[in-house]
Each structure stands twice: as C-alpha cells, then as structure tokens.
Amino acid sequence: MKSIIYDHKGMHGVLRKWAEEIAKSDPNIAVIREENQAKAVQELLKSESDLLLVHLEPKFWCNLIDNLEKQKCAFRFSTVGFSPTPPTGKHQNGFHVNPRTENEKGEPETPFFLPDLFSAIIGGDVLSTLRSGMVPPAIRHFISFHQPHFARALHILLQGWLAQWAGDIGHPNNAEAKKLLGLGNSIPPLNHEIDWLRMLRTLLSSSGVSVSDPTNDSVLIKRGLGSLRLEMGLKADFGESPIKEIGDLLQQALAQSNDRADLTNKAKCNAADAALFPALKKARTELSKTLRLQWEEGS
C-alpha cells in the first residue's frame, strides 16, 4: 500500500522526522516537503497513495477530508493528541489519532507509538474495519471514536465502593482497598449506607444503548457492556479485556442481591464484599488502564 506523509512543522515535526527515516528504506512511502499547507493539501489530494498521515492545522485538515476520495484514508496527528473523535469528512474516512506525538520538550512521545500504529494500519483489514465504523483491537490504544463517559462513571462508582471499604476499619477488605486507592488518610467520611447494587443498576440503566427490558439484570449488564464496547470501539465480541473483567464483576455483583437485601446486616454484606473483591479489583484495574490510555481533552 502506498502512503504519503505531511507535517506542517517541517523538519521540526516528529511526524516529518520519522517519515524521512522510514522513506529511505521503503519506496512506498512518500514525504511532502512543502511549507505552505494549502499547497501541501493539493499535493496530498493529487497523490496516488491510499493512506495519508498528516499533521495539519484545522482548516487545512477540513479541506483535505472534505475532498478526499472515498477509497483513501487520512489519519490526523497532533503534538498534543486528540480527544476521541468519530470519523470525519465527506466519506467518513478521516481519523484522529489520540496519543500526542511529542512531549513538552518537542521530543517524540515515549513510548514512541508511530511505528506500531503504522505497521498495524498497513496490515490486514484494519482500514476496512475502520471504514465500517469500528476500531480494530490492534489500534484501539491509538484511535477511539467516543468519549468514555460511561467507563468513567463506572470507574467513579467502583472507586467509591472501594473508598467505603477503605474507610471502614473493621471491613475485611480495608487494608487492600486503602492500598488500591492510595489516598492515605484522606478518605472522605461516609455517614450513610449506600446500596451499591442499586447504584450499579442506576448507572447501567442510564447507559446509552437501548435494550428491550431495562428491569432485567442480564439485560442491564448487556446494556452497560454495549456502552463500554461503543466507547472503546470494540467489536461485539465481549471476550476481550476490559469488557470481560467488567462483565464478570457486574454478573457477580448483581447476583448478590439476596446477600445484600438487608444493608444493616453488616456481617452478610461484608462477606458479600469479600467474595466480590477480586472481581472488583480486576475490573477497576482494567478500567483504569483503559481510561489512562484515553486522551483527556485540554492539552
């Protein structure tokens, strides 16, 4: 596959420097060395390459993707990264790359992800999957289409659950919950009982994917996982982390309804918490990893 690369920062840009290096050994890679962005866009549009990797200012990017032929794909980079953005352009073939390319000193971001992303894009059916509106697993750390609002809300909820355990000296998971949260003695006091299963069901009900029966737990779980899948750009297969870990947690938690029917029965609730702890820990860890990889708007 032929590729063409342009960086409006010229040789000061990380994308351009990397492009110059790989173009030396790969005849399928062309580099545009034009300083004027408008002229560079014209060159990009005339090019025979199917794959365009560009660092352009907004109006030039819009001009490029509004005129880009359907069978081509353009990937937009930024020194500071992009927030999750749905495909853009007349043919929905313009994609924003989430991680930043440079650190604050103008050096390549560590780890330097461009080679991995590039080899993933040119291999297999990555481009056709992207065109279909899904993010292939191989590049899900680099490109996402949706803000992870549901994932974040779930993370906040699980964090709160851990904080309750961490603030309760007599709780069986007290020490490990404290360690996981890393809050030392700053755990906020909790002066009321929280029905965590009700909170989970509330959150799952609020997720954006509509389902037939919102009162059924298994349907609710499906709904929550559907939202996560959408935010993470994953295919319908729930077998992947973090979906699997979160699915396990939700199933285990909601199956404890009887054990938690009486919130004043501390012994029973503590036993249920202890049984749930490994799953909650795994799910939260997976969520944390995923959310750390997502670019936060506002660099």
């Binding site: 604050e104 000193k105 609002h149 906040i156 949260l181 959150l203 506002g298």
Partner: protein, 168 residues
C-alpha cells in the same frame, strides 16, 4: 465545568501558547538570524505580544478555577443527584477529588504556573520595548521569551481538574 475548563485550557495552551506564540517566536529567531525571509514577522510578533494581555487573563482564570477545586468539595449536578441521591453523589465526587489532590500535586503546580506567567510577562514586556530598535540583545530577548513560553506550556500541559459529574 470540567469540560469547559479543558476546552479553555486547550484554547490557551495548545492553540495560542504552543501553536502561535512559540511558533511566532521561533519564526522571528529564524528571520533575525537570516535563515528565512519574512517582512511581516516583526508585525506578527507585535500582534502576538498585544494578544498576551488577553491570554494572560485566560491563563489566570484557568488557575483560579483549579484553586477553587482544591479548596472545597464539588457540589453534585442536579442530574447526578436525581440518579444517585445527594449524599452518595457528593461522596463519589469527593473520593474522585481527593484522588486528584493526592495524585497530581496540583497546589505546587498552580503556584509554579503563576510564577511562570509572571516570567513570560516580564520577558514579553522587555521584548516589546526592543521591537523597534532591535539592538544586539534582540536575539537573546526572543530566546528568553521562548524559554519562558515553553516552560509555561509544559506546566499547563500537566494541569488537570477533577471530574465534576458522574453521569452528567
């Protein structure tokens, strides 16, 4: 509010400080050293220095907001209250805020950022007075502004605020 703050930070730090001021100063350095020709580079720089007054206000507002967030718990949104109840929503947001406070060293960073705003202010003011004369120290003055601008951009890149809603 969190999302507004993030957008405002991006407008200031990415769109203006990194992509306009730092880039404009670098261009002036190249023009001054004769690497490139651009008759309008000086005027463009003068405009950027004039814009700094407004941008400085934007940067200070961003820091004011951080200080508000460090000072007291975040009130939950009406939607979160309707979903989770006021006490639970407040507790969840306070756990999130405490994690932000303990993991981001935000108080020190905000103070440093204020100092660096003053540094950039002084450097740009000195450069502004030298724009017409362009004496022997002109290059050094641009480099001082570049250093100060880059330090401030690096600082702002690391600044965050805690999420102030659960669902919305």
């Amino acid at each position: 509010m969190t999302l507004d703050w993030q957008r405002a930070k991006s407008d200031f730090n990415h769109a203006w400080l990194k992509n306009r001021l730092v880039v404009g100063l670098m261009k002036c350095l190249r023009v001054h050293s004769g690497q490139v020709e651009d008759r309008h580079a000086g005027d463009a720089l003068a405009r950027l220095i004039a814009e700094w007054r407004e941008m400085r206000g934007a940067a200070c507002s961003l820091l004011d907001f951080i200080e508000q967030r460090t000072a007291k718990p975040i009130p939950p949104s009406p939607h979160d209250v309707s979903m989770f109840g006021v006490d639970t929503a407040a507790f969840l947001l306070e756990v999130e805020r405490q994690r932000w406070l303990s993991h981001s060293s935000v108080n020190d960073s905000a103070s440093e950022a204020r100092r660096e705003i003053e540094d950039l202010d002084r450097a740009l003011s000195t450069l502004s007075s030298a724009l017409t004369s362009r004496g022997n120290t002109f290059q050094t003055l641009i480099e001082d502004c570049l250093d100060a601008g880059r330090r401030l951009a690096e600082r702002f890149s690391r600044l965050t605020v805690p999420r102030d809603f659960i669902i919305g």
